[in-house]
C-alpha cells in the first residue's frame, strides 16, 4: 500500500480502503486485459498516443506536399497522388489528430480536475476509442491501397459524387468521418455528464476550472455540430452507394445544400478544436503567473458566447457561391463578433500575466507563442470575414496561412504547452526545460517561416490545392521558403519526441505538484493511480490546491470494494447519491468490431448496414446484460 495523495484525511480503515482500491481498479493482464481496459487514464493515453501518431502522419504528408511545391513545374508527386495527399493531410489533421487529441487530453484530465475516479460512462469511453482507431485504420488502409480520398477534406459534390470520383475513395472518407464522429459524440456525451453530475462536492458552477468549462462548452458544441457532418457524410455515402439524390442537381438535390450542411458543422469544428486549447492556456497561465486567471466570469461568458456565435457564421466559407447580399452582411457581422469574444480572453490572459509574477516555464513560452500566432491569425480572420476581401483571398494560400495560424497557433502551440505542463502528471517525470526552450524556438521560427510567406502567396494569386504552378507567376521563391520552414518545423517535432523519450527515462522526478498549480489533478500522484484519489478531494475554493493544507476537505464513506463514485447535483455540486461504475469489459471492443463490420462493409455493399446492425444489437445486449456475479455483490 502506497499513499499517493499529498494530503489524506485521518479516517479508520485507511489501509484497507487503499488496498481495496488497488484491487478493484486493477487493470487486466495480457491482450484480453488490454482490450477490456476502461479506466480514463489508459483510454486518454491511447487517444493521445494514436492522435500523436496521426500528427506525425499528417506532418509527413505536409512535407511531401511542400517538397512538391518547392519549385515550379515540379514532378515529385503526380497530380493524383498530390490530391490524395493533401486530402489525407487535411482529413488526418482535422478528424484524426486535432479533435481526438483534445478529446484524449480531456478524458485524461477532466475526471482528475473534477475530483472523481473515472468518466461517467467508462465503457462508452473505451468504445469511443475503438471507433476512433477504426477510423484511423480505415483511412490509412485507403492510403496504402490507393483508395485515399482525393477530393479535398470538405468533399464538395459533384466532384465527390459517384461520377467524378470513381472507385471507393470518397466512400472511405465518408465512413472514416462516421467512425470519428461516433467517437467524438461518445466522448462529448460522457464529458458533459462527468462535468455536470460527477464534480466533487464544493465544485459549484463558479468554481469549475476554466479548462473544465472549455471542455463542457466544447462538448456541447460537438453534440450540436457533429450531427450536421453525420447528415453530410450520409448524403454523400448514400448518393454514391445506393443512388439517392440528396445532392444531385438534376433531380432536385443541390450541391450547395451539402456545403451549407458541411459548414454548419465545419465552422464549429474549428472552435471544437481550439476552445479546449484556450482551456490549456488558462490552466498554464494561472499556474505559471502565480494567480488565478483574471476575470473568471468574463472568460466563461466569452467562451459560451463564442460557442453560440460559432453556429451563426458558417456562410463565411461560402461567400463566393453567390448568396444574397443582405445575408452576406449578416454573416460578416457575426464573423467579426468572434473577434470580440476572443479579444476578451486575450485581454484577460495578458492582464493575468501583467498582474501576476510569471515564471517562464516552457509551457508559458508556448503560451506566449500562442498569443503571437493566434492574434495574428485572428487579424487575418477579421479580413476574411469581410465579403469583398474574402472574394479575393478565399481558397488561396492566404486562407491556408490564416487557418494554420489559428489552428496551429490557437490549438497546437497550447497543446505543446499542455504536454510540457501535464507530462509530469502523466509520467511522473519532468520534461527537460532546456530542450523545451529549443523546441519552442525551433517550432516558433519554423512555423512563421512556413506560414507567414503564404499570406503573400495568396495575395499574389496562388490558389490552394494546386499541385504545381508555372515559373512565370513568381511563386517559386516564397514557396521554397515555406518548404524550408516546414523542415524546421519537422526538426522541432523531432526535438519534442526526443524530449518525451529522454525525459521518460531520465527526467527529474516530478512529485505530485511540480508547478505548484491550482487545480485538483495536482492532488493526485504522478502518474495518478487508476482510481485517481484515495479520498475524493473537496473543492473548497476556485483554486483548491492553493488552499492551505490544513483547510482542505475530503469525501469519505464511498465503498472501496467496488468502483463507486459520487454523483452530485448539477449547480451546487451537493452530494446526491453514490453510483457504481462498471469495471473492465471486453464488450466495447466487441461492439467496436461489429459496428466496424457495418461501416466498412457498407462502403462495398449497402446490405452490410443491416448485417452490422444485427451483430451490434447482440453485442449491445451482451454489453448491458446485468452480470449476476456483480449484481449479487451489490447489497441492494
Amino acid at each position: 500500500m502506497i499513499q499517493t495523495q499529498d494530503v489524506l484525511p485521518n479516517v479508520p480503515n485507511q489501509e484497507e480502503d487503499i488496498s481495496n482500491l488497488e484491487r478493484v481498479w486493477r487493470r487486466g493482464r495480457g491482450l484480453f486485459g488490454w482490450l477490456s481496459v476502461t479506466t480514463h487514464q489508459a483510454i486518454g493515453m491511447r487517444y493521445i498516443v494514436t492522435a500523436f501518431i496521426m500528427l506525425l502522419a499528417g506532418g509527413i504528408e505536409a512535407l511531401l506536399m511542400r517538397i512538391q511545391l518547392a519549385k515550379p513545374n515540379n514532378t515529385f508527386l503526380s497530380p493524383d497522388l498530390y490530391n490524395q495527399i493533401f486530402t489525407t493531410h487535411g482529413t488526418t489533421m482535422m478528424f484524426l489528430f486535432a479533435v481526438p487529441m483534445m478529446e484524449g487530453m480531456a478524458i485524461y484530465l477532466i475526471p482528475l480536475m473534477c475530483g472523481t475516479r473515472n468518466v461517467a460512462f467508462p465503457r462508452l469511453n473505451a468504445f469511443g476509442y475503438w471507433m476512433f482507431l477504426g477510423g484511423v485504420l480505415f483511412l490509412y488502409w485507403g492510403v496504402f491501397t490507393g483508395a485515399a480520398p482525393d477530393m479535398g477534406w470538405f468533399a464538395y459534390p459533384p466532384l465527390s459524387g459517384p461520377q467524378f470520383t470513381p472507385g471507393k475513395r470518397t466512400d472511405v472518407w465518408a465512413q472514416m468521418i462516421t467512425f470519428t464522429e461516433f467517437s467524438a459524440l461518445c466522448v462529448a456525451t460522457e464529458i458533459v455528464v462527468t462535468i455536470l453530475k460527477m464534480r466533487t462536492p464544493g465544485m459549484t458552477l463558479n468554481r469549475i476550472p476554466l479548462y473544465v468549462w472549455s471542455l463542457l462548452i466544447q462538448s456541447f458544441m460537438v453534440i450540436f455540430a457533429m450531427p450536421a457532418i453525420v447528415v453530410a457524410s450520409s448524403y454523400l455515402l448514400s448518393d454514391r452507394t445506393i443512388g439517392t439524390h440528396f445532392v444531385n442537381p438534376s433531380e432536385g438535390g443541390d450541391p450547395l445544400l451539402y456545403q451549407h450542411v458541411f459548414w454548419f458543422f465545419g465552422h464549429p469544428e474549428v472552435y471544437i478544436i481550439f476552445i479546449p486549447a484556450l482551456g490549456f492556456v488558462s490552466a498554464i497561465v494561472s499556474a505559471n503567473a502565480r494567480r488565478e486567471v483574471f476575470g473568471y466570469p468574463a472568460m466563461v461568458l466569452a467562451q459560451i458566447a463564442n460557442a453560440f456565435i460559432a453556429f451563426g457564421l458558417w456562410v463565411h466559407h461560402m461567400f463566393a457561391t453567390g448568396l444574397p447580399q443582405i445575408g452576406e452582411a449578416f454573416f460578416t457581422a457575426s464573423s467579426m463578433m468572434i473577434a470580440i469574444t476572443s479579444g476578451v480572453q486575450i485581454f484577460c490572459w495578458i492582464a493575468t500575466l501583467w498582474t501576476g509574477r510569471p515564471r517562464m516555464t516552457t509551457s508559458l513560452y508556448f503560451v506566449y507563442g500562442f498569443l503571437f500566432i493566434f492574434v495574428l491569425g485572428g487579424m487575418t480572420g477579421v479580413m476574411l470575414a469581410s465579403v469583398p476581401l474574402d472574394l479575393q483571398v478565399h481558397d488561396t494560400y492566404f486562407v491556408i496561412a490564416h487557418f494554420h495560424y489559428v489552428l496551429i497557433g490557437g490549438a497546437v502551440f497550447p497543446l505543446f504547452g499542455a504536454f510540457y505542463h501535464w507530462y509530469p502528471k502523466m509520467t511522473g517525470r519532468l520534461m527537460s526545460e532546456r530542450l523545451g526552450r529549443w523546441n519552442f524556438w525551433v517550432l516558433f521560427i519554423g512555423f512563421n517561416l512556413t506560414f507567414f510567406p503564404m499570406h503573400i502567396l495568396g495575395l499574389k494569386g496562388m490558389p490552394r490545392r494546386v499541385y504545381t504552378y508555372p515559373p512565370e507567376v513568381g511563386w517559386g521563391f516564397i514557396s521554397q521558403l515555406a518548404t524550408f520552414g516546414a523542415f524546421i518545423i519537422a526538426i522541432g517535432g523531432i526535438m519534442f519526441l526526443a524530449n518525451v523519450f529522454i525525459s521518460r527515462k531520465s527526467g527529474a522526478v516530478a512529485g505530485n505538484n511540480p508547478w505548484d498549480a491550482d487545480s485538483l489533478e495536482w492532488a493526485a500522484s504522478s502518474p495518478p493511480a487508476p482510481y485517481n484519489f484515495e479520498y475524493l478531494p473537496v473543492a473548497t475554493s476556485r483554486a483548491p490546491m492553493w488552499v492551505p493544507r490544513e483547510e482542505r476537505a475530503f469525501v469519505t464513506g464511498l465503498h472501496t470494494d467496488r468502483r463507486e463514485v459520487l454523483v452530485t447535483t448539477l449547480m451546487d455540486a451537493e452530494p446526491h447519491h453514490r453510483y457504481v461504475l462498471p469495471g473492465s469489459s471486453i464488450w466495447p471492443f466487441i461492439t467496436g468490431i461489429t459496428v466496424s463490420i457495418g461501416f466498412v462493409g457498407s462502403v462495398f455493399n449497402p446490405w452490410y448496414i443491416i448485417t452490422g446492425s444485427t451483430l451490434t444489437f447482440f453485442a449491445l445486449v451482451g454489453w448491458f446484460w446485468p452480470r449476476r456475479s456483480t449484481e449479487l455483490r451489490e447489497e441492494f
Binding site: 497530380p79 493524383d80 500575466l353 498582474t355 492574434v375 479580413m383 499574389k460 499541385y467 505548484d516
Partner: protein, 347 residues
Amino acid sequence: MSWYGGAAKLVCFAAFTDALAFCATDVQSVVNPAGPQSGKIAGLWWFFFWLLGAIFLIVMLAALRTLTRPNRGFAQEPLEGTHQVSQETENRTTRVVTGATVATVVILFVLIVASVSTGKALSELPYKKNTLTIQVMGVQWWWNITYQNSDSSLVVKTANEIHIPIGRPVQIRGLSNDVIHSFWVPNLHGKADFIPSRVNTEWIQADKPGVYRGQCAEFCGLQHAHMIIYVVAETPENFRKWYDRQLQPAVQPSDPVTQRGQQVFMNYACVYCHQIRGTDAAGQNGPDLTHFGSRLGIAANTVPNTPGNLGGWIADPQSTKPGNHMATVAVNSADMQPLINYLESLK
C-alpha cells in the same frame, strides 16, 4: 568564409531575383488592381491591413510588457501571498480590460461599415450602361467562352481567353455542367463559384490594357492547377478588330501543307471533340479551335501557344497535363507537322 557565407549569398541572390520577379510578375495579384472592382477591394485591403496591423502591434507590446514583470523563478516560495492580488490592482485591470473590449467593439464596427459599403460599391457596376455579356462555362479543365448577343450572328465562341474592351463593364455569366469551378482573375475582381444548375454572375471591368491571368480557384479534380484563363484588356478599337475576326469562320488552308493538315484533322478523332467553324469539324466536347492560332496558350493556357508545345501536346497530352480529357491519338509522324501548321494558321 565558410559554407554559410556561401549559403547566405545564395539566399540573397535568390531573394534579389525573386524581388525582381515579384515586381515583374503581378499578372495575377490582388494588390495590383487593374479595374474599379479590384481597386476598391485593394483599397479596403490596405485599410484593414494598416488598422489591424497597428492593433496587432499594440497587443503584442502589451504581451511583451508582461515579460518585464518581476520573475518568480523556479524556486518554490511559500504559497502565502503569491496568489493574491490587491483589490486595487484588480479594479484597475478591470478598467483597462473593459476599455480594450470597448475599443475592439468600436473598431470592428468601423471595419464592418467599411466592408459592407465596399460590397455595396462593388455591386453598383452593373447599373452602368453599355455592358458586354460573356458566358463562361467551367469544364474539367478548361473554360468554354461564349460572347452573348441577342443577334445570333454576333455570338462568338472561344476558349480559355477573354478579350474585353477597357472601360466597359463586362458581365460574366458563370455556368458549369460537371463539378464546381471558381472564376478568379484577381487583378480585376474576386471569385465567383460556377455551380452546376446555377448561374452566378460577376461584373468586371479593366481600366488599363494588359493581359491578366486568372485561374480556377475551387478544387475541381486532377488538373485543377492547370485551368487557367487569360483576360486580355484592349482598347475598344483593338477589341472591335479582334471581335470581328472571331466572328469569321476559320481561314481556309491555302498552301499544300496546311491543306494536308486540315485533312489530317478531319481524319483523326479530333473532330469528335473540337469545332472549327467553316469546316466539317463540329465536336462540342473540347475547346472551339476556329481561331486557335491567335490564342496565347494551349491546354487551358498550361503552356504557351508555340508549334513545339502544340506538337508535344497532341502527341502526348497526358505528359503536359496528366489526367486531362483529351484523347491520346497516335498521329503518324508524317502527319504531325502539317497538323501543327494547319492549327497554327487558324488566326
